[in-house]
Symmetry: C2
Subunit: 178 residues, 2 copies
DNA sequence: ACCTGAACACCGTTCAAGT
DNA sequence: ACCTGAACACCGTTCAAGT
């Protein structure tokens, strides 16, 4: 599964290949089908584990510091790390781009990842803005999630991690991100 | 080419198929190879025309109104229109996600699209901030480009155009977008 | 339960052959 | 110049057959 995850993060869901995974781990492609009957099953399992791992990491980050600014620095660092790892992207970000081709079971997990992120960001924003309306905070959380994903996409598209950093800095300068 | 463009905007570069295009326009896949020897040639031609068309549209938009706020409303509307058209995405946004698999000639055009957009956004921002440093304006322009692309990606991933609108509204509320 | 090789219909690409 | 059918090595998927 970790071999498959790295493949998707580098080339997307469509390019994920049973034969390639088999070559990498030393089994036939048919034997992988025994564990994951369809590509959708494999993709959903990957996205599920990815979301679960991410969720744990975010909880840990929030537990470490109740400061919104520090949390957001840590959050951006997670997305930055993917780029550092061979110009890879967030697994779910790439899958979102291929949304039309995703089986339903994968879509469900992609949706869950977005929910987990927006919910966490809402909590972080709430640390600062106790008085702001809940809807406005949630919309800002969604906007931050989208903006950071976009920064990752653009930076990857140029193979230049400095573009990611510049975008994040500009988001902060504008006040979008604490 | 317009058939191919719609295919990429819906399913990405990887899913673009000579055989499918042939079926759609009534010729064999081999005959399309006569006009576009490789998939990279076709992809580059698509991205080039896409960038050229977009460039013209942006120039026209800026010529119509020298107001930064109105220009940005028009700019966001262009990205919104892609979502309205069967939940499609910006051709180059999708290609960026598949960057690792793109031939060099396609990458060149993808880069050019980003350049054209950032340059235009820089001009629009300059309408308002005559005193701000040029670097800061350029970084904000890049951030806006990334943020709007991210909003499109997230909204498409949920099949919910309201998410795009909410993100744009939040960008504006934060002051990222005029 | 886990794995395999072979088959099927797909893909991009090539090429000899047609008009 | 433009198009075609057939071939090649790829893909996900299926399945009978092995341990």
């Amino acid at each position: 599964m970790s071999v498959a995850r790295l493949m998707v993060q580098a080339h997307g869901y469509n390019a994920l290949s049973f034969r390639e995974i088999g070559k990498e781990v030393g089994v036939s492609s048919a034997s992988i089908h025994h564990h994951f009957p369809t590509k959708g099953d494999l993709g959903a399992a990957l996205a599920q584990r990815y979301t679960d791992d991410g969720s744990v990491a975010l909880e840990k980050l929030l537990a470490t510091s109740k400061d919104a600014h520090k949390c957001m620095t840590g959050y951006a660092a997670i997305f930055r790390a993917a780029l550092l790892n061979d110009n890879r992207m967030c697994l779910v970000g790439l899958m979102s781009a291929e949304y039309d081709d995703l089986p339903d079971e994968v879509r469900t997990e992609v949706d869950r990842f977005a929910d987990v992120n927006v919910k966490w960001l809402t909590e972080v924003l709430s640390l600062r803005k106790a008085k702001t309306g809940k809807d406005a905070i949630q919309h800002q959380a969604l906007a931050i999630y989208a903006a950071i994903g976009g920064a990752q996409l653009v930076a990857r598209g140029r193979g230049d991690i400095a573009m990611f950093d510049r975008a994040i800095t500009a988001y902060r300068a504008a006040g979008l991100i604490p």
